[in-house]
Amino acid sequence: MARLIALGAFGDLLPLQTGDVTCTEVMRETLFCVAPYRGQHKAVSAALKAQLGLSLPAAGRRKIAGDAICQWIGHDAWVVSAPVMLDGLAAVSDQSDGYAALDVAGAGVEAVLARLIPLDLRSTTFKVNHTARSLLGHVPVSITRTGAQAFEVMVMRSMAASLVHDLQVAMSGLARRGSA
């Protein structure tokens, strides 16, 4: 019988620090995509509230309760960080290994992300627990503000190395400028 070893998505690419910005892997045991069926949005929200303590957030938002996360991930779809029972209410797909996630944080983090993401990430418009789907360089990502100077970036696992590479280039360019 096999004994399978679990490996992280980023290998030894993380953590990473350049200048005043750091990147660290976000480890999440499970992640499920929840897509409510027609007319079941409220029922799903109620079921999630009961099971996770979190209802469905609006488009572009994330909710957190304790360790649990419920985050909008696209048209008709959310991700939740723990197993949920939604039989007949929503399509639930295991994405625990579909996404890799990292935290990018530090004083220069907005300047780093501004080199890569075509989004208005100013703190006045993109606040804590705001989330968006977009591109980082050419890599499709889901980005969430987690703090005044901190963001979480989720990426399809197979592109984890490309994500780190693009961040690394942007971080190094910024550091080489001195103050930007």
Binding site: A59, G60, G74, P118, L119, R133
Partner: protein, 87 residues
């Protein structure tokens, strides 16, 4: 160019895939006949001015949207979810 996604707000054109005239929403019946299918698939008003076309927010939320737009000025007047436009 920036397009208003009903879910995501105004986003850069680079996040979108273009499909073409929103005529694609009104698919003929399978037996509608060659002319109906020719019009659906091929023939276009191709307006120099206001038009409605279909875009897919591929690098964003994944919604198909119908965008009201001007082909002469590139002005974008608004967008709706194609799902709503179709149903």
């Amino acid at each position: 160019m920036r397009i208003n996604c009903p879910h995501c707000g105004e986003r850069d054109r680079r996040e979108f895939y273009y499909m073409g005239d929103a005529v694609a929403v009104t698919r003929p019946a399978p037996d509608a006949g060659p002319d109906a299918w020719d019009d659906y698939l091929h023939n276009r008003d191709n307006p120099a001015g206001d038009t409605r076309d279909l875009w897919y927010h591929e690098a964003g939320c994944g919604a198909w949207i119908v965008v009201a737009r001007n082909t002469l000025t590139h002005a974008v007047h608004g967008a709706t979810l194609a799902q709503k436009a179709a149903s």
